[in-house]
Structures are given as C-alpha cells and as structure tokens.
C-alpha cells in the first residue's frame, strides 16, 4: 500500500489526514448511479428489440475499450496494437469451432482468454521495458506481423476472405440463437458485467494503486521498491485476456471473422472510443463505445468518408478541448453546478 501511505504522509493536518483516509476507505464502494449503465442496457433490450445484433456489437466494443482502459487509463501504457489480442481471441474462438469442432461458446471464451493472455504475457515481458516511439512502433509491428502470419497460413485461417458460417451449440444447452440476436445480446451483457466487476476490483485494489503510481511517476515507484516491470506485465496480460474475450464474443455474435480484426483501424478505433468517453474512469469505455458505434452506424450508411472524417474530427476536438473525455466534461459541468459561480 505504498500509494496510500504516501498520500497519508503528505497530508499534515489531522483533518486532511482523516479526509484522505475516508476517501481511500470509501472510493471502491458502489454508488447508486453505477447501476445506470446496466439499467440502460436492459432498457435498450426492450426498446430496440430488432437492433440486438448491433447492440451485441456495441457491448463487445465496450468490453474491448474496458480492457484498453486497464492498460492505457490506469497503467499509462500507450499501445498502437491492442487489436492483436482482440484478433487472437476472435481467431481462437473461430478456429476451435471450425477445426476442432468445439461448438460450446462459453468454453470458447475461456480458450480465447488463455491464448490472448499467453500472447500478452510474452509480448508484454518483451516489450514493456521500452517506452515512447519504440513501444508504439513495436506494438504496431507486432499486430501487423500477426496479420501477415494469418495471411501466410491462409489454408488454416481463411486469409483475408475470413472464416464464415460458424455455428455454436445453444448457450448453457438451453438458449438457442434467434435471428434478431436477443440471446447474443444478453450473453454479451452477462460476460461484460462479470468482467467489469473483475476490472473494477482490480483498479481499486492495492495492485491498481501501484499501477496508478507507475503511470504518474515511474522513477518514484522504482525508488520505493515496486517491481514495476512485473506489475506492468501482469496488467498487460489481464488486459490482453479481456481483449481476447471481447474478440471471441465478436466472432460468436457475428458468426464470422476476417483478418480485418488486426487492422490498425481497429487498434485506433478502440483508442478513440476510450478517449472520447474518458480514459482511466471505467465508465468512459461505456460512453465512448456507445457514441462511437451509434455514430458509425449512422454515418457509414451515408458514406464511409463522412465517418472517417468524423472520427478524425472527434479525436482532434477531444484532444484540444476535452482531454479528460466526455465524462470529464460532464464532471466539470457537474462541479460547476454544485459549487455555484466558480468559473
């Protein structure tokens, strides 16, 4: 608990110390508004019953953005290749179904998580000692290399044509899949909920505090004796596993996968979602992914160029005017209202 000690030690007055202790003791507690996203997700199920396939895609992207939040928002690792783990998960789910005839979906998620975690641990151990441009280039190159490997082994992976027509056994042996994706939606929502609780627990744990310490000041974390590299590799592995699950869900709800999942646009897209919503605040992934996906759905219909231009514009505006994302803006607005006239 190095971080909390540091905060407590930095607060001289007893009142400030009590305030800091109270903050640390209560900040992990669930607040009433935290039910809101889940209530909205369930409401969406009843309001848009014919858009549930799209809804499942949104939930998949929320999960993917959440996994990125763990490394980018909380540990401060800037990667341009997070799609690598999403893609590995997506292909694991597809390949065990097609090549091994394993059609049970939930165990498919576990397999995807395992493969992505192994890749995350290996690449994290190798790459996370670097930073800056070197890390950006290495993560980017890893993802492109995976795509090239997939293309090279196209007899096995289907290459850029992809692997269509995947089928799965009914969920838990009970619920079959309907054309409108109702089962998929509830399935994705359940998986998202479980993994969200995992991520939420992690970021509020002492381990999560260490990550924040590394993000804010690596030199100091080294100085207090924190095993920085090990901590980073650990969170990278967890994040990779969750991204792998997101990829597997993507495959299962689409019943289709192509090498496009490894595209730079996928890595960049998930980053845009997270930044748009607000990184390092858990719910940013929800807000960002929903807005991104809904905009994409509407603008792409008009023209792909409009959509691409809009993504670029959103990025530029977010960086210039809302560095803490939409949730950050909301928070500022809320503070402005509660504190009265403060500018």
């Amino acid at each position: 608990m190095a971080a909390s000690d540091a905060i407590a030690a930095a607060a001289p007055a007893p009142a400030a110390r009590a305030q800091a202790t109270a903050f640390l003791a209560t900040r992990h507690r669930l607040r009433p508004w935290e039910a809101l996203p889940w209530l909205l997700a369930i409401a969406a199920f009843f309001i848009f019953p014919d858009r549930m396939l799209f809804g499942s895609q949104v939930l998949v992207m929320v999960l993917f953005a959440l996994s990125l939040d763990l490394i980018l928002g909380f540990a401060g690792i800037v990667s341009l290749g997070h799609a690598a783990f999403f893609g590995l998960g997506a292909y694991t789910a597809a390949l065990i179904t097609l090549r091994l005839n394993w059609q049970e979906p939930i165990s498919g998620l576990f397999a995807a998580a395992a493969v992505a975690a192994v890749a995350g641990a290996a690449s994290g151990w190798l790459l996370l000692r670097y930073r800056g441009l070197t890390l950006l280039v290495l993560t980017l190159a890893t993802t492109i290399m995976l795509q090239e490997v997939g293309n090279l082994m196209r007899d096995f992976t289907g290459g850029y044509d992809g692997l269509p027509g995947l089928t799965y056994t009914p969920l838990l042996g009970l619920f079959d899949y309907d054309l409108f994706g109702h089962t998929y939606y509830l399935y994705a929502l359940a998986v998202l909920f479980v993994l969200f609780l995992v991520v939420r627990t992690i970021v509020h744990s002492p381990f999560g505090q260490t990550l924040a310490g590394i993000r804010e000041n690596v030199a100091r974390m080294h100085a207090v004796g924190s095993p920085v590299h090990l901590r980073l590799v650990t969170v990278y592995t967890i994040s990779a596993a969750i991204a792998g699950v997101a990829g597997a869900l993507f495959t299962q709800t689409n019943t289709y996968v192509t090498l496009g999942v490894f595209d730079f646009d996928n890595s960049a897209g998930v980053m845009v979602m997270l930044i748009l919503g607000g990184a390092g605040r858990l719910y940013g992934a929800f807000v960002g992914a929903v807005i991104y996906m809904v905009l994409q759905d509407n603008l792409s219909k008009a023209s792909p160029q409009y959509w691409q231009f809009a993504v670029g514009l959103m990025l530029v505006l977010t960086v210039l005017f809302a560095r803490r994302g939409l949730l950050g803006l909301l928070q500022d607005a809320g503070r402005l209202l509660t504190s009265g006239r403060k500018p």
């Binding site: 980018l72 800037v78 341009l80 190798l126 000692r129 670097y130 800056g132 441009l133 070197t134 950006l136 280039v137 290495l138 980017l140 190159a141 890893t142 492109i144 290399m145 090239e148 490997v149 293309n151 090279l152 730079f264 960049a268 980053m271 845009v272 930044i275 023209s303 792909p304 160029q305 409009y306 959509w307 691409q308 231009f309 993504v311 670029g312 514009l313 959103m314 990025l315 530029v316 977010t318 960086v319 210039l320 560095r323």
Partner: protein, 287 residues
C-alpha cells in the same frame, strides 16, 4: 544468383531513397521536440496528390510539379504546425498520437472524397521510362532517377546539417534542448523550420513514389508504418541513422519479396523488431 542479388540491392536502394526522403523530416522533428507525428504520412500523401493534380489537370511538367509540391506542402504544414502541433509540445505522447491520428484520418477522408479510393497514376517524362543499360545489365530508368535524386538530397541535407549554422543549431537542440535554449537558440522557431522542410520533403517523396507504388488516400496510413519503423530503427534526430535504417529496411523488404514471395511482407517487421529489441533507441539514437 548474382543477378538476383544485384536486382535486390538496386530495387531496395530505390525504395530506400523514398523511405529516406519521406522519413528524414519526421526523424529530425521527433528528435527536436519528441513530438510523435502520425500525420507525417498524410503530408506525403497530400504531396503525391498535388503532383498528380498539377500534372494531370494543370499540365505542369514533372520537375516543376515536384518543386511545387515541396514548396506548397512545406508552407501549408507551417499552418498546421502553428494551429495544432504548437499547442501540444508539452502534452503527453498519447495526446500527440491521438491528435495526429485524427488529422491523418481527416486527410484520408478528404482526399478520398475528392479523388476516390482507387489508385491513380501519372505520366513521367519519356526519358525517365524504359531501361538504362549499364555494363551488360539493364536497370529501370525511373529507379535510377530516384536513387540519383536521393543521393543529391542526402548531399544537400548532409551539408546543411553538418556545415551550416542552422544545422549546428538543430544538432545542438536535438542533443540538449534546454541547454540550446539557454544559450539563446529559439528552438520553437527551429522546429517550425524543420517541420516545414521535413513536410516538404515528405511531399516530394510522395510525388516520387507515385510511379513506383501508385497513389491512394490510404498511403497516409499504410506507409506510415514503414516511416515510423525507419525513424525508430535509425534513432531519433539522426540523419545518418535514418539513411542507414532506410537502406537496411528497404533492401530487407525487397529481398524478402524476391526470395520468399509469400512471407515477403513479414521480413521488414521482423528485422525492425529485432533491431529495436536489441537497441531500443535505434541504431544511432541516444537514450
């Protein structure tokens, strides 16, 4: 066998010159300010389209079109630098990455809107097409031309970098920005200047590349990966490093495509990653 080796070296060198011309500005500006500029490929792409429009629509000959694209894109880049980049010098790397990806996406969308997504081509002058006979072998004339332009630019850049006052100031600022500022070097001004020259060179490289690779709006992102590899492998802010890395990666990529047709795309990444794992600051970079 000997034939293949010569072909690989020759084509690899031509490719390397394009990589060098486009990447050198990126390397110097990153070395100066540590600014991660993922929109650099967009300047190369924009430069390519300016050459295309100048030649196909306005009837400007090839060489004036290249000069025009260098000047215009260099000048336009200053506007971008002042409007967007200057606000983020002190920002985090993540914010720089996001801003410049955003700019690149907007550029790609804009150019796709006006020029369409399909590859476009130009007609280079007659005397640059065909084959050039050298000692019982023939070489594609255009590639010889690209290598010659590259060599000339290397000479000019080397002179400017190593022998002029401005070059000395740039080197000083790359070495130690604070110290350079404290002895009165205006690093911001220097950055704007190198940014303009670097973007102009990127545009020139984009123009030269049309005949070799064709031109599509996605050039801005697809080739960006190679430019970043060159800069990272060479080491930030190093002219020599950028040149060595460009030649190494250009030849490795060409060799890979010649010798292992299927796995060709793979090799440039493998080589680059191997070098970076051993020397994270690049071949001539400093930690």
């Amino acid at each position: 066998m000997q034939d293949i080796v010569i072909s690989i070296l020759f084509e690899g060198l031509a490719y390397a010159m394009i990589l060098f011309i486009v990447s050198v500005g990126l390397s110097i500006t990153m070395g100066l300010m540590g600014f991660v500029n993922l929109a650099h490929g967009a300047f190369a792409m924009g430069g390519g389209y300016l050459v295309l429009t100048a030649m196909n629509s306005w009837g400007v000959p090839f060489f004036p079109a290249l000069l025009l694209t260098f000047l215009v894109v260099g000048a336009v880049s200053v506007v971008f630098e002042r409007l967007f980049y200057a606000r983020l010098y002190k920002a985090t790397e993540l914010e720089q990455v996001l801003l410049t990806i955003g700019l690149a996406y907007m550029a790609i969308a804009t150019y796709t809107y006006f020029y369409g997504p399909r590859p476009q081509s130009i007609h280079v002058p007659e005397y640059l097409t065909g084959q050039l006979a050298v000692a019982s072998r023939t070489f594609p004339t255009y590639r010889v031309f690209v290598i010659a332009v590259g060599a000339a630019l290397i000479a000019v850049l080397w002179y400017g970098f190593e022998r002029t006052n401005i070059g000395a100031r740039i080197r000083a600022a790359v070495d130690n920005r604070r110290m350079a500022q404290s002895i009165g070097i205006n690093v911001d001004r220097l950055f704007t200047l190198t940014f303009a020259v670097g973007s102009g060179l990127a545009a020139l490289g984009g123009g030269l590349a049309i005949e070799l690779f064709g031109l599509t709006p996605s050039f801005a992102v697809i080739y960006l990966v190679f430019f970043l590899l060159v800069v990272a492998v060479g080491g930030l802010g190093s002219l020599k490093g950028t040149l060595v890395a460009a030649i190494l990666l250009g030849v490795a990529d060409t060799g890979g495509k010649y010798l292992y047709a299927g796995a060709g795309g793979f090799i440039i990444y493998a080589v680059a990653m191997l070098i970076l794992l051993i020397r994270p600051a690049g071949l001539y970079g400093r930690e």
